[in-house]
Symmetry: C2
Subunit: 326 residues, 2 copies
């Protein structure tokens, strides 16, 4: 496990230990004869994130008949699938940094990024075919296709000033919340929780995912490189308009924002000005209120969970993720 | 079905009719709410190839208990998977043309190409999870991961003059022949052919795929845009050294080729000179002999098939594919 993850989970030694195994399984999954390829993939896994989705999967599993042996490989697949979508996202965004480190496309070129993403994807389905049922396989494939459609919608909406909050919410539901929700669903269903509990846990995942993405988008307006691990204003520079700006555009009475955004590309000064106008128009504030709405929903569903140690862990985790500086 | 395919299969009305259904199923599979996305995908399907892999799958199915209802969706998935790998290949090669038409990446940009490829891929696995068994799913995922590894090896070997014929054969086996072989295997096994027949049919597919790729590579040296549907010398320009050149380098006594190839990029004149030197060194001739070896093997395994109308169709098909001008 990388240092970030190790530190992030230090309060929960049992969960951390299981996540450590998930991490090892991820490494096993990508073993290939070609050592250059393997090295790139291992680097990706080691510079990876906090294993949030696996953590949600395992935590949800604890509400039923928990089997680490059964859940750990599934958690590994979910994280690898997530990784493969990130690798391709970085090509799309032409992103130089991810989690404060160079992206595969920046360090190894677009070709390697395309192929490694595909390879990871295929390997995940290989692993899934050994570890789970067809029904479940279908669900995973569906979520992946949703993620792609969400990304495509985002791409085709670039530089468009008429994206509604509703459309934005649909987008982030597909590209982010669906996988959080699925992680919880898998953990719960594979541990034979009852249908009501499964639905409840999935909603914790969904609402956490929504709030998580909204906060991520807010940070593009109010964060710093140190805090976010990627350049601020990056989405904006790429013409990706997220919720703070979408809200701000609604109250853009004297068309200052509209005017600035109509340019074919944005200079550093433009980006700063847009961020400033977005803030002044109350776009960031409103986006924060929206994030809080989903955060509250997540807590609401957590409150409804049966009393267990994991209920507290989940509450603390969601607090840590969603109640942060932005 | 597009005109090329319609014309290609005109001698076999029954097969053509079934392939027509495969084509319709492909279109059904990619239906999405977003009409822009759907249009791009439909365009791809309609400007698609001859449906060779589906044809092999169906033909092999005829050697057992043929069920169109069972095989057509599988054939559709195989072709869509093939399409999704092509979409990503074109990003990698930066290819402007495929089958004589603009590629997705050239017309719609790299982002759409990445995402559409991913989306197709995910949709295929969704369809597979409804139509087949886990064992089969695993096989498909494995072949896809092989294709990626083959492409990665090709990419990492760019501009390298020490690629052995053996390494080249391994590469094309992974990136091309495996999917031909799988198509035959699926058709045979899903129609409950006996194990020996399944193995025999798979070998027809494998050897056809090998010869097919070698001929494709030869055409990069000896074809014309009209004949090949893509620019001649394209692979070479990208630093991809295929078998004619690999052979020619072995007899490059006065190091003329070695010298030319050592340049960091190749002008049109360089490409012409390299092609000329490859021809003079007998590289094209030797590659043709290699293609013939695999073609003969394919015929050998066809000869061993039980006497059926489809045996003749398969022989004619392989003749049409592999005994062509180059």
């Amino acid at each position: 496990m990388n240092n970030t993850a190790f530190k992030f989970w230090e309060k929960y030694p049992s969960l951390r230990s299981d996540l450590g195994e998930v991490h090892e399984l991820m490494k096993d999954t990508i073993k290939v004869r070609d050592k250059d390829t393997e090295e790139i993939l291992l680097d990706m896994i080691d510079s990876g994130g906090k294993l949030l989705r696996p953590a949600f999967l395992l935590l949800c599993g604890k509400f039923g008949k928990y089997s680490k042996k059964k859940l750990a490989p599934l958690a590994a697949v979910i994280e690898l699938l997530h990784m493969s979508t990130l690798v391709h996202d970085d090509i799309i965004d032409d992103a130089p940094l991810r989690r404060g480190k160079q992206t595969v496309q920046a360090s190894k070129g677009k070709t390697n990024a395309v192929l490694l993403g595909d390879f990871l994807f295929a390997r995940c389905f290989m692993l899934l075919s050994e570890k789970t049922s067809m029904k479940f396989m279908r669900l995973v494939a569906k979520v992946i296709s949703q993620i792609c459609l969400g990304e495509m919608e985002q791409f085709s909406s670039k530089y468009q000033q008429n994206v509604s909050p509703r459309k934005y919410l649909k987008r982030i539901s597909a590209k982010t919340a669906a996988l959080f929700s699925l992680s919880c669903y898998i953990g719960a269903i594979e541990s034979k929780c009852n249908p009501k509990l499964i639905a409840n846990l999935s909603k914790v995942g969904f609402n956490t995912g929504m709030a998580f993405q909204i906060i991520d988008d807010i940070l593009d307006y109010s964060g710093s490189v140190d805090l976010v691990g990627k350049a601020v204003g990056h989405d904006l520079e790429q013409g990706i308009f997220t919720i703070p700006l979408i809200y701000a555009l609604k109250t853009d009475k004297n068309k200052e924002l509209t005017h600035l955004l109509s340019k074919s590309s944005y200079s550093k000064e433009d980006v700063s000005a847009i961020i400033q106008l977005t803030r002044e128009a109350g776009g960031i504030k409103r986006a924060q209120t929206l994030a809080e709405k989903y955060t509250k929903k997540a807590f609401h569903y957590i409150d409804m969970l049966p009393e267990k140690e994991e209920k507290n862990i989940m509450r603390e985790l969601v607090e840590k993720l969603l109640i942060r500086k932005y």
